[in-house]
Subunit: 253 residues, 2 copies
């Protein structure tokens, strides 16, 4: 039996699980991984992921760039760590006494909110199936929405994949909208995206027969709707997913 601490994990992942032994000798540490993560998130929130560099993070904390490497193996690991950090949803909303549809709605909503609070989240490419603690907490919470349902494990995982993928898609678009609004566009006159005017000249009815009417009507760039529009669209797609799941549950009886 292998009772190893699972050290074949990437170092950044091992760090996030707290699997790093700390020997006693040597001076006390003046920094902590948490401080580094917090500082990095603050920079990324304010100025975007491109503003994050090792020296920038370090100087924010009053240290040199190289000092960070006593705590974190590489910048890529740091990015994984901040991605995992913002997945911490410890104080999760009331979810006890609601049906599975409402639980799934809340799960998707929570996932989207992470992206909205931290738009850089989506700029960090997903390297694979989640294996970090808070990300797995999210998966756990997603699975919880299916706890009472008569589904096998594969079915449950597929549903979580469905929901989280949808949340990611919505988060991406809502991030766009938020950014456009913040950039000073009045929702009333131009709540759509910045390039809708140009697109309308480029998208022809010949080359894009099905996109053309949707673009012209403003539905593609969400022009003629208030800020809650995407919220509505978001809800629409989600309800279709939930309907599909419900239909499947009924078909199994």
């Amino acid at each position: 039996m292998e009772h190893q601490n699972g050290d074949n994990l990437p170092k950044g992942v091992a760090l996030s699980w707290g699997l790093i032994k700390q020997s006693q000798r040597g001076p006390k540490r003046e920094l902590s991984i948490q401080q580094i993560i917090d500082a990095t998130i603050e920079i990324a929130d304010k100025e975007g992921l491109s503003a994050v560099s090792m020296s920038r993070v370090a100087s924010t904390l009053g240290f040199t760039a190289m000092s960070l490497y006593r705590y974190i193996p590489s910048k890529d690991d740091l990015l994984l760590l901040i991605q995992d950090a913002v997945c911490d949803i410890s104080p999760l909303a009331e979810e006890a006494d609601s049906d599975w549809r409402e639980k799934m709605r809340q799960y998707v909503k929570a996932s989207i909110e992470i992206i909205q609070k931290h738009p850089w989240f989506i700029d960090i490419p997903i390297s694979g199936v989640p294996i970090m603690p808070n990300q797995l907490k999210m998966v756990d919470r997603g699975l919880r929405t299916t706890r009472e349902l008569p589904l096998n494990d594969f079915e449950k995982m597929s549903i979580v994949l469905l929901l989280s993928g949808y949340a990611r898609s919505c988060g991406l678009i809502m991030k766009d909208m938020d950014r456009a609004v913040q950039a000073g566009m009045k929702p009333s006159e131009f709540s759509g995206l910045a390039y809708s005017g140009a697109l309308k000249e480029l998208v022809t009815s010949d080359g894009f027969p099905d996109l053309y009417p949707v673009l012209m009507s403003g539905a593609y760039t969400e022009e003629n709707q208030a800020a809650n529009t995407v919220g509505d669209d978001f809800a629409f797609g989600l309800e279709r997913i939930l309907d599909g799941i419900e239909h499947y549950l009924e078909s199994k009886k």
Copy 2:
């Protein structure tokens, strides 16, 4: 009326639309944007996105790094261009005489295949709503699956969002699986992901009550299934989406 060529577009986007004027004077160009794009894709396909640098691309073509800047404004633009380039699905499969469910299946399949053929695709963060020609071709094709359906433009866009987001989620996971298999893991004995052993020691039933059984059964890391498993999972989620859409269509009657 503004009959401008829509020059408020980002330069890389304008390039992809062929909106760049070409004056007559000066020496003939020895390169072309297409050559650059092709060379970049070839490098990325073989060695991953991290192997792509301006000098690497240029030297592959027998030129200096700076020469590329006579064709492409920046590396970021180049990445957008290759992302759009592989979205070219001109020879699209038979889609004429099939019902909408089958059309949607084919659309999702085509989207996933792009990611499988070009695993770097998902490593390029999506900057926003698609505005490049081939990406819009994909959107157009997605909308086409809804042509015969009694839906308004917003409903159609929501459905395309649903389908493309799901394709992206599946593509991500299938990319993982492919990579693991290529790395030499025998599907029979260990078709799961590399870290499932470590995870099983870290994910406790207290902290992850709903994930724990799923992980232990092997469903999370897809251990005990052949390579086509994800194909099955992929199909499962998609059928739920389609059921949900069908349910909605019926409810409108």
